[in-house]
Symmetry: C2
Subunit: 357 residues, 2 copies
DNA sequence: ATGAAAGCGCTAACAG
DNA sequence: CTGTTAGCGCTTTCAT
């Protein structure tokens, strides 16, 4: 009978015996090839190859303290926003010969905390994307875990941020240049760091311009919320709408089409690119693209750096947003209009906030 | 100075000393609580808690041979199809207290092989989603790795399959019931197992019915390919189109709209649900939904079973597809038409096949 | 340049 | 029920 699978993986000793050397030499042959004589080295490597020997990382980690693994926690695997980050991170980790532990926190802070704790001993460090933990909890974690955050800023922790504020500025400037004076913003979840950033950018750019900006929301960043919000925006007589993400923007587009309202002739629409539509190149929708894969790469990069020189301080890397203009924006129907100073309304409605970007 | 992070994780000995027991007892307290006297148990657990002790899986795996980890390999992390599977698998693995190693094979067989090999020693088994490896390579791998395949059938290996053939049958029967007689199928990548399945289902259902089925493709399963294929389908005068996936279907929709061809009045469109649009509920598009998350769960399930009883044979689980009818299908323009027997054309064009579903 | 030996944190017999 | 004793596979002084 077959005796299961990995029951008898070749160990370092097998190689050592077969090559007439001590296991120490085999170990060195892999870790510090320079320390063994050329002749021995080739022999050992040959035998290792022949026996299909692969060092056991678990055993190695026992003595070295390093696991060669990196943990990545996302708040919702179903969100393409995170898949993209993950893809980049995964690639970078592999280049550095590190394996990736993946966990989905399912938007649940308790679970997230638990996952980091559970991972802690099996990885050298953890990347958390859009953490739902409180600042205090994160500060707690960083005491005994090397941490890098994506899409979240916390003092003393390295992070890679996506420049939502800058993206918002680009979007608004674009619309302003087209002649829009009255613009609606459909906000995402209130607790979302990136939503706060985007609103911050929005206000900064509106300040001191002859733009009227109306904020709606918070909304769940979903297609349906976009459909709903579209009606609010139309009622508020804006000539352009910027949505928290492209899913919502798509909802807006859909609702406007249903109501027979022309895009972009009657109203212009901009979405923030959750990369949802990456494959289909969002041919209709003007979006603010975020370099998500790169964010993943950089996060791993930061983590690796930090592992290499634990002493040094923390980095914060901010990645630029990029407005991609397409068919959903155009000059407003009747050229210039009001011309009041920037204002904003209170949130008009609450919806349950789920996925964030 | 701070001496890095996990430098001094509390070990089993620390707990043992502090609780006045041997490390064996502590070990048992965690592994087989039943073997320890209640009193001792509580004391040990209390101390462990106090010291924030977490057993080291690496060390444990050294003696037990089990790692408690599962490897999951997907052929493209960027494809939402796989994110969905991953999400389900991740969840199931966590329920079973297993961690997930994730790797992206990037559509590259060499890399895929390498990844499985690299993972092998750190995991108890591997799930490969839409493997790009040859049958021979997979047979090779299964010799020394516990394997479960998703979306791929290979003799002697457990697998979870998505019933593309059944989904296709549903789609065609739906269109037939509406009165369509001449239907086009826009095929996916030629090498894709699921594409072969869908074509198989297509022919099976067409056989013996007064339906004319025209196959186009193979195409890359992308939005752009859908746009292109739309023209071919229109030229072929079909009254309905079934696309390999929803991305392509969206492309079709887009192209038809550009050409001013009404959907569903002039032509009906059905997509296979790559779950791309999960969030937006694909409100316009009739699709064949595939239970992707469940597929992930079942895959892990199968793997766990196999790990538990290595002796037993392999399972193949086939998950049902589900037609979801929405606004993109309706009776054909002029009711009944020709009525010839099922036929099919040769592939009309080749495009580079990338993502598959 | 290489080997011997100790030990990383844990579990698995085997005693008691 | 609990302690003792060996290792698991590898790295790392310390010798040689």
């Amino acid at each position: 009978m077959d005796r299961g699978k990995g029951t008898s993986a070749t160990s370092i000793r097998d190689v050592a015996r077969r090559a007439n050397v001590s296991s120490a030499t085999v170990s060195r042959a892999f870790a510090e090839p320079g320390l063994v004589r050329q002749e021995t080295l080739t022999r050992v490597l040959a035998v290792a190859e022949e026996l299909r020997y692969r060092p056991s990382r678990a055993a190695r980690s026992l003595t070295t303290g390093k696991t060669g693994n990196i943990g990545v926690i996302v708040s919702d695997l179903g969100n393409p926003f995170f898949s993209a980050i993950l893809k980049g991170g995964q690639a970078r980790a592999r280049e550095a010969d590190h394996a990736v532990f993946l966990a989905d926190a399912e938007e649940n802070p308790r679970l997230e905390m638990e996952l980091v704790r559970a991972m802690a001993r099996q990885v050298d460090g953890v990347v958390i994307c859009s953490s739902r933990l409180s600042e205090a909890q994160l500060q707690q974690l960083r005491k005994d875990t090397t941490l890098v955050l994506v899409n979240r800023r916390v003092s003393g922790v390295s992070a890679v941020l996506l420049d939502g504020a800058g993206g918002m500025r680009q979007a608004i400037e674009h619309l302003e240049a087209l002649g829009h004076k009255r613009i609606g913003f459909l906000g995402g979840p209130a607790e979302s760091w990136s939503n706060r950033e985007r609103r911050r950018g929005l206000r900064a750019v509106a300040r001191g311009r002859s733009l009227e900006v109306i904020e709606f929301g918070p909304f769940a960043p979903q297609f349906e919320a976009g459909q709903h919000a579209a009606d609010l925006a139309v009622a508020a007589e804006v000539t352009a709408v910027v949505a928290f993400n492209d899913l919502m923007a798509l909802g807006v587009l859909s609702r406007l089409a249903d109501r027979g309202i022309g895009v972009p002739h009657e109203i212009s629409v901009v979405g923030f690119d959750n990369i949802l539509m990456a494959g289909m190149a969002t041919p209709q929708l003007t979006t603010v693209a975020l370099p998500l894969e790169q964010a993943g790469r950089v996060a791993i990069e930061l983590l690796l750096e930090q592992l290499a020189q634990p002493g040094l301080g923390t980095h914060e890397e901010s990645l630029p947003a990029q407005l991609i203009v397409r068919a959903s924006t155009a000059p407003p129907p009747n050229g210039v209009r009001s011309g009041m100073r920037a204002t904003r309304t209170e949130p008009l409605q609450e919806t349950n906030a789920v996925a964030e970007s």
